[in-house]
Amino acid sequence: MRLTGILIAWLLISFNAFAVIDTFEFDSQEQRARFAMLSEELRCPKCQNQNLAGSNSGIALDLRTELHRMVISGQSTEQIKAFMVERYGEFVLYKPSVNSLTYVLWYGPFVLLGLGFILVIVMIKQRGSNRAQQRTQTPAKNTVDREHQQRIKDLLDKNK
């Protein structure tokens, strides 16, 4: 009865303007930490991008209650996640599972960084070899420069 009353109140509140503060009790700090972690990693199925910890909607409260029950009954993190996924789909995991669909997601950035490093080093080394090539190929350019320098010096001397 009380629960219904609270649920009605929550339905009237159309905005997720605050996170509900539950008062669950735990048997150990480890349990409390696991509950905190899971309630942040599980997504509220209904809300506009909020985790179970941050949402005040009815379903979020129900799922937190269920989560609490599972944590204190000793179920493992994998079991709890499997329970949620079975009912709500992969959508409910903020940490996407690593499977063939998500390899690009999880490994892509590392691959990009690695490739990028290789590219940078190759590019710089190539500049170095280009420069070395230029030096051996254009001694003529240096003679032209020297001629230029001489002419400038002559002109300046003339003005003195």
């Binding site: 605050f18 503060i21 905190a36 809300c47 910890a53 903020y94 998500t102 997601l105 990028g116 490093f117």
Partner: protein, 657 residues
């Protein structure tokens, strides 16, 4: 009538923008000075009309004109005046008008400050900015005008501003954030102008840098304020959620940071030209992407305005033209932008290239993560979510790698540095940093974690590198103060910015690792202990506010045996919208925040109470503030001052010949 005036001013602004987009550009491509000289006056009148339009909307809010639909939807006569004025940008239509207005502010600034630029460049830059203005002004006018009237069934009272927004955060966060987002359009315009004219020289970099640094500064503070606001407003102690809208602001910041560094290289050494151009286009494109993501409904977010796929399509078309067009121009024209100089593997250029690489990779990672659910859904492969666990897992190692290279980069010289000298300088400092970092981590909290310790080690290492660099600059002069004064402002702003990064890093590492939270049931007289602090619950009273009623709780906090603070968390009920808000009470300190929030009343007069212990959290925003000051400071560097003074001193030399 004022609303109609506002609408009309917006239309005139659009007309000016259209002329600005076409005439000076035509003049620049044909070398016609007459047409090019229209750029500045058109820019200034564009600004004037948008100013009038904004003021009309502000007036409508200030006078509670509920016949204007947007005012009726976002305001209320009981709303305090400062919220009425900031409610102007509290919804989609008004925030768009703000966007366009801020764009015209930047256009005006460019018009006023571009006397040192060649006419064809300033004409092109202003024209490109005009094109952007045409896009957004037309979008606002056609799909989202804030001046629409509700003449039949005009409401007597407004629907009130969303209570979440009734806060100082609304007053400052959107305008500063938009200043950043929109400011990158200037760098974008300079890049397009360079591609169109085929010229990219030192002068170009010198003009582009201050505009970029200042926009970067605004975007930095805009994001910082958003994080700070979310922390104290939302009531659960979080300060970053990797929400699509947050990511939409962080991506241009990352690209913008890469751009700031790349521009430094282009100015000093004439290198990375085509890469800098690409970054400038890319950064602004990410700003525009953000606008699209927030307003189209393509991604779910707590921040998004009312989703409307029709508006989304319009923005997408705008994006296609702006981004697609500029990328195509880049592909065709950038080939001719070749860099002249060289550099060794062990040099500042290499490290800045690595800096760019890491920043762009982080940006790409965030883009992938944000868009992945959409991609999977579009492929018909179901619905998945990508949230904080993913982003944190990848962001942490990447940012630590970035800091590692930052420590090295600030110690290297341009073009060529000796590897052995580098090792001789950095290896001892690295060893010292490891010792300092490990000791500091242990002393702070015996339960050390690898990530936090590495972060501390790297922070010390960057700090020592920065210090060593300053020392090397002043050690040779006998009067140290003179040496400090001799260093250009841009040098000090660089040091300040890097220092800001370190400060933020320390804040993030410590708060993420060592924060504590307890949600408990408390009755009057109950007390609980957490991290050496004792919290005593004294009860809850009712209170009346201007447009709300509140349940105000009292908790007395003791540190050990000494009184520490008296805290008053509230639960407010706003009758106009029927919403309930948690106003947490935070005891903010330089090294620690104690955070208390009130939950629901329970049976027997007890209350649900949330307590949080957040060490070093202010450092995150302090770092952001430092970075902002650094960015703004850099615009005052001597070399950006007008060249009239130099001309007057150079004539005597000419007369000698």
């Amino acid at each position: 009538m004022i609303a109609e005036l506002g609408q009309y001013a917006l239309i005139l602004g659009l007309v000016m923008a259209t002329f600005l987009a076409i005439i000076p550009m035509y003049g620049a491509s044909t070398g016609n000075v007459f047409w090019m000289s229209f750029a500045k006056p058109l820019a200034k009148s564009l600004f004037l009309f948008l100013l009038i339009s904004m003021l009309c909307l502000v007036y409508a809010f200030a006078t509670d004109d509920f016949s204007v639909e947007y005012v009726a939807g976002n305001s209320n006569s009981a709303l305090p005046i400062y919220f009425k004025l900031s409610a102007v940008w509290g919804g989609h239509e008004g925030s768009l008008l703000l966007w366009v207005f801020i764009l015209t502010c930047w256009i005006f600034a460019v018009a006023v400050k571009s006397d040192g630029l060649p006419l064809d460049i300033s004409a092109r830059v202003l024209s490109v900015l005009g094109m952007v203005a045409v896009g957004f002004a037309s979008f606002t006018l056609i799909t989202s005008s804030p001046f629409e009237r509700l003449l039949i069934n005009t409401p007597v009272e407004g629907a009130d501003l969303n209570p979440l927004l009734q806060d100082i955060g609304l007053i400052i966060h959107p305008p500063l954030l938009y200043m950043g987002y929109v400011g990158f359009s200037v760098a974008f315009a300079f890049a397009i102008a360079a591609l169109l004219s085929g010229k990219l020289d030192v002068a170009w970099s010198r003009w582009t840098r201050p505009w970029t640094n200042v926009s970067w500064a605004f975007l930095t503070i805009g994001i910082t304020l958003g994080s700070w606001w979310a922390y104290y407003e939302l009531g659960w102690g979080g300060w970053w959620f990797w929400d699509p809208v947050e990511n939409a602001s962080f991506m241009p910041w990352l690209a913008g940071t890469a751009l700031v560094h790349s521009l430094a290289v282009t100015e000093k050494r004439g290198l990375f030209k085509s890469w800098t151009l690409l970054l400038a286009i890319f950064t602004f494109s990410l700003s525009l992407l953000g606008t699209f993501l927030v307003r189209s409904g393509v991604l779910t977010s707590v921040h998004s305005f009312a989703a409307d796929p029709e508006r989304g399509l319009y923005i997408l078309v705008l994006l296609a033209i702006t981004v697609g067009g500029s990328m195509l121009l880049y592909a065709i024209r950038a080939y001719d932008m070749k860099s002249e100089s060289d550099f060794e593997l062990c040099s500042r250029e290499t490290l800045l290239l690595i800096n760019n690489l890491v920043l762009v990779t982080i940006c790409a990672m965030i883009l992938i993560g944000t868009l992945y659910p959409l991609l999977i859904d579009a492929m018909g492969a179901g619905k998945i979510s990508v949230g904080p666990p993913y982003f944190n897992a990848l962001f942490v190692p990447f940012s630590l790698i970035l800091c590692f290279f930052m420590a090295i980069g600030v110690s290297l010289r341009w073009k060529k540095s000796s590897v052995s000298a580098l090792v001789k300088q950095l290896l001892p400092s690295l060893i010292i940093s490891v010792i300092l970092g490990v000791v500091a981590a242990y002393l702070y909290n015996e339960q050390m974690t690898l990530k936090a310790t590495i972060a501390l080690v790297l922070s010390f290492w960057v700090l020592i590198s920065l210090g060593l660099d300053v020392y090397s600059k002043v050690k040779n002069s006998s009067v140290k103060i003179l040496a400090v004064k001799k260093m250009p402002i841009s040098y000090w702003s660089m040091q300040l910015a890097h220092l800001g990064v370190v400060v933020s890093l320390v804040g993030v590492a410590l708060v993420a690792t060592y924060s504590q939270e307890r949600d408990i049931r408390m009755q009057v007289g109950d007390s609980i202990e957490m991290e050496g602090y004792r919290f005593e619950f004294k009860g809850v009273e009712k209170r009346q506010g201007p447009n709300y009623t509140s349940d105000t709780g009292t908790l007395v906090v003791y540190k050990g045996d000494n009184f520490f603070a008296k805290m008053h968390p509230e639960k407010r009920f706003y009758p106009a919208r029927g919403t309930v808000m948690t106003e947490a009470d935070i005891d903010a300190g330089a090294f620690l925040d104690i955070f208390v929030a009130l939950g629901e009343p329970l049976a027997d007069g007890a209350w649900a109470v949330r307590l949080q212990y957040k060490p070093f959290i202010r450092w995150i925003w302090l770092g952001g503030l430092m970075m902002m000051f650094a960015g703004l400071l850099s615009a005052f560097d001597k070399r950006y001052k007008r060249r009239d003074k130099q001309r007057s001193t150079s004539t005597p030399v000419a007369s000698l010949a």
